[in-house]
Symmetry: D2
Subunit: 362 residues, 4 copies
Amino acid sequence: MSSNWGNLIRISIFGESHGAGVGVVIDGLPAGEPIDLEELQIHMSRRAPGHDRTATPRKESDLPEILSGTLEGRTTGAPLCALIRNTNTRSGDYQNLSILPRPGHSDYTAYVKYKGYNDIRGGGHFSGRLTSPLVFAGSVCRQILRRRGIEIGAHIYSIADICDDPFDPVQVDAGLLSQLSRTRFSLVNPKAEEPMRAAVEQARMSLDSVGGIVECAAVGVPAGLGSPMFGGVENVFSSLLFGIPAVKGVEFGEGFGAAKMRGSQHNDPYRMVNGAVKAVTNHAGGILGGITSGMPILVRAAVKPTSSISQRQDTVDLTTKENAVLEVHGRHDPCIVPRAVPVVESAVALALINLMAEGNQL
Amino acid sequence: MSSNWGNLIRISIFGESHGAGVGVVIDGLPAGEPIDLEELQIHMSRRAPGHDRTATPRKESDLPEILSGTLEGRTTGAPLCALIRNTNTRSGDYQNLSILPRPGHSDYTAYVKYKGYNDIRGGGHFSGRLTSPLVFAGSVCRQILRRRGIEIGAHIYSIADICDDPFDPVQVDAGLLSQLSRTRFSLVNPKAEEPMRAAVEQARMSLDSVGGIVECAAVGVPAGLGSPMFGGVENVFSSLLFGIPAVKGVEFGEGFGAAKMRGSQHNDPYRMVNGAVKAVTNHAGGILGGITSGMPILVRAAVKPTSSISQRQDTVDLTTKENAVLEVHGRHDPCIVPRAVPVVESAVALALINLMAEGNQL
Amino acid sequence: MSSNWGNLIRISIFGESHGAGVGVVIDGLPAGEPIDLEELQIHMSRRAPGHDRTATPRKESDLPEILSGTLEGRTTGAPLCALIRNTNTRSGDYQNLSILPRPGHSDYTAYVKYKGYNDIRGGGHFSGRLTSPLVFAGSVCRQILRRRGIEIGAHIYSIADICDDPFDPVQVDAGLLSQLSRTRFSLVNPKAEEPMRAAVEQARMSLDSVGGIVECAAVGVPAGLGSPMFGGVENVFSSLLFGIPAVKGVEFGEGFGAAKMRGSQHNDPYRMVNGAVKAVTNHAGGILGGITSGMPILVRAAVKPTSSISQRQDTVDLTTKENAVLEVHGRHDPCIVPRAVPVVESAVALALINLMAEGNQL
Amino acid sequence: MSSNWGNLIRISIFGESHGAGVGVVIDGLPAGEPIDLEELQIHMSRRAPGHDRTATPRKESDLPEILSGTLEGRTTGAPLCALIRNTNTRSGDYQNLSILPRPGHSDYTAYVKYKGYNDIRGGGHFSGRLTSPLVFAGSVCRQILRRRGIEIGAHIYSIADICDDPFDPVQVDAGLLSQLSRTRFSLVNPKAEEPMRAAVEQARMSLDSVGGIVECAAVGVPAGLGSPMFGGVENVFSSLLFGIPAVKGVEFGEGFGAAKMRGSQHNDPYRMVNGAVKAVTNHAGGILGGITSGMPILVRAAVKPTSSISQRQDTVDLTTKENAVLEVHGRHDPCIVPRAVPVVESAVALALINLMAEGNQL
């Protein structure tokens, strides 16, 4: 593993924040699938920086060049490679990081693993910029999934201690998800926007950052996908979601809340509805025994506050082996949660397309 | 995937709750490692049912027969297969479940996936009994890891709304972990035992069940294990932990709590301590950029309340396609959290031994 | 890897020649497939020793105990584990091999890899006995494949310099393959039996052994299975076939013979036959660009002469680091080619069921 | 699988013959390894077309652009992506192939698998051009291997029925291999060049093509790499080698020749030589029980005659479902064997670097 993922539909992600660019090879896509580049660009630019005060002012147009795998707007079945060139890099900002590792960042752990040979500029391969090819790949897959009746959408569940309304675990529908997945600051209840923005602005003014939670739903997923034990839906989802930088927790359905519930509350009773088996509630988040139940899939990812802050921080000098103080002057996101929304949707799309392929449903 | 897991050290788990037995093949173990069967049995019996009022009265001695892969008490490097025969099965208890799926259980989703051919008796391959070979495999691995300086231990972080003291993220040490990992009702603060037992008993009396959280730590893990993106420590851990039945959430370090923190709080500053780089705090749970930092690894798994309860529940009859009512009379655990403790430890051991192998540290 | 193999349908093989037994876990089988145990036993006993003068007199009944994964004679979709106990082991025969590695055997290389901790008795996990669970797994799979119209069969293509008639690459049919796959000394032309047996007997009398070639065909395989590059049919087949001890070469269609041909001879022209595209010849062995063409698949595996011979051989003493002479007195096969026939068929079945699963054809 | 390969060091190959370009992502390389671009270019241009009368006159400079994974000439440990733009494509030549599949080519099988959506121009992703990124990846790896004492080199073992001298299985040394791997028409005995060229020229004049065999050796490989059964050296090598278009057979050591040998001839006796265990002969090709013995590794790959020939050939029209006649007018290689030499070397390098990584030797 590492920057590869997938069994039947595989991605291999490459690139660095301040190198030539970032990109992805997607191997195993079904042939003949049209790719709507305009819609794809909507997802790419939801993730791209420079569009919102909550995000870094670094601007990247994030226009992917498709190098292979398509012909006349359709997939050919051969590996699809997309390259997103970096255009706006200011490496000077990061020059002293190779000696003074930033707290909360991968600088120190990467230094140990790669014996100091890793590209530290802008976080190198550890940068949030690597989520750009992830969104590319996920966006291709969600177009394919939509043609099989699956819609995916996410929202900002919380920023700091401000919460949006949660998804209705039973009623959440394709219309809402489709709408959310075209929005830059995705919320179920628009009233949450102002206080959330205020919380971010407050952090920014203090040269600080805030975290939050992204909640994602997928509807139209057929029952019977996944496997017991290690091939379960939760395993597959989490093996991708924890690949998004800053994600430190993943939960399904009631998740950690289930720990305080009783079985009689948490169990979802079944009823026949129009000849089909339906659960009346959906505490399970659409997954039982690792296998989809046909109910909406619900997953939440906890995003830690951006590690890059402009306050002075204690660190060490890896050359002199002495204590040191760090002040970082790059362009940072005071809150990456809004930009993480399409990334989570993309990870969910990649997970689901693999589960669909394994279940002979592509 | 499915019931296989692992890259360099792989497990393949088999068996059913009411079949001949359960077992595991572990492939890729280093050769020449002594296996302490007595210690192994301690872990096995911590997980085994019938030893505690919080658990099902079904008794299973859980004595593994090692069929291959060892010679004179040491691993040979060949696949190690262990078989644990089932001795105490009462299939009659489950006879009508193939028609009336239990809410909260895999009965319905397995029925769809396997078109009704799955072994429904006692949950079949979805049963918690499959954690027995998982504990076997994990216990073999933790003995190997201990010889490389790694100690793993977990405790009941919470049951219902009763909490144990959390691990000290910086100070947690091998002595405490070793002690916990030999205890049946593992707690940092023994005062939590009585109220926890009371909460479980209360649920049992109401023919109900309760959930909880298991917290696990690993100390002595060298810095530099893991990879960015999908080969990260969190990805590897969660891909295993979600294979434990009933786990619905996994978090590292501050986890979901990080969502409410500021970067200045969450970032762990570095200091030189006796010539070594140490983090002063450990909100990251020992993992940055998917790679270990050398600080203790901290992970929590949310365990939903046992699905099998004896209350009447609404369900459907899959044969007649009509609504139905279910009453289950098997032997169930009102709370599986205490028995889940060694299972979480074992999953962590399996994850770590793979990361150690990938890092050339075995 | 190692003793695991497979992507969607995976096997994990365990056991040693002189340990408790050998076995296999098969994970990912489709549910609801009946298993004909009688037919399965036919394949098992074609491979088993003690039935023929060309083979070792060691008798093993090779009766598998199915420990999991079936219910009422059908697969459940859960991992199927089969255990074959060893009954007739004479470890004394091998006692001095741990010091004096047998030429042509894995003794020395295993000693280096496992630092002397491997089980050397009877070759341990390297023994030809490990093909017994491979035949079990392949035999389960070929029953499933037959229900999808695929028939697999092999014959002794050659022993020493005596050749059977080769398969007709275009006309080979299911009837012939089915008949061959129930025969102990499988030949297209029965006239080859006598001279082949004479060649083996001659070797046996000289305390020597002979090699040979097994040719296997599969008919009814749909066009379109496989992938370009590394997921090709040849890659998948060979990654299994080289797992059979003693196989040192694998070729498809004309194979090494193609090296001497011209393109105009080797290319297989197409014609429409009853509305379907057919190749007129089949030099390609049913595979083009790594993908099946719908023509019979043809593969040959070269089997080296049995390494275990009773002649005196030069070797070294790994303890004293001095030259030594070895005389082996175990029970050996002067020629394993006849017993390798069902093993090759089984490997082909495992390869094909994975390709079928990847192609959504199970 | 498909166009991905590898366990610890993984490649993901993309591109088409007549698209934007071809390329590869290499994931898992050790950090800090210098890459000698000049030497790399030597290997690239040995494979590139347009340099020799035996090859297609299509000229491609094959200059890779490294998009990621290096810094100041050294690997960073992050995925290394190289892109080789196509510069000389004449798609008109192939226009009618989408209807009339070329015998011996993947046109028909790809058409079935990809339902006609595959890029047929120049063979698309099935083109021999895809070996260019394979050589790139292999050339990076062999530089790393050389620093661990391993040298790899191959030669034209035969073209049509003209043979070069074979490698001496015991004496083949790094000097010879290094020299061969810098030569365009690699031969042990230069006297074979003239008759080989004559055979190719003869085929070219008849609008035909010829096949041949490539033999590759690796020296300096430590004993103890590989695994029994499916993780064996032969399995790993062949799973890559059959990914080279036109390879139809792979054999190790004596290979198919072993089928006619006796055990007493084939077994390689051991002797102590300067305190080290050495085999006196090397019929095993350096591999016993799937594990390296420390002797030179010897492998041969059979290359079928180029499928693209300019003679009229029988085929079918996939649109009208009628018989048809095909005349191809592209630029083709009358013999690809000389260009296949560096490709085989590269596949061997990729296989070995994975085995070295698994054996903790990188």
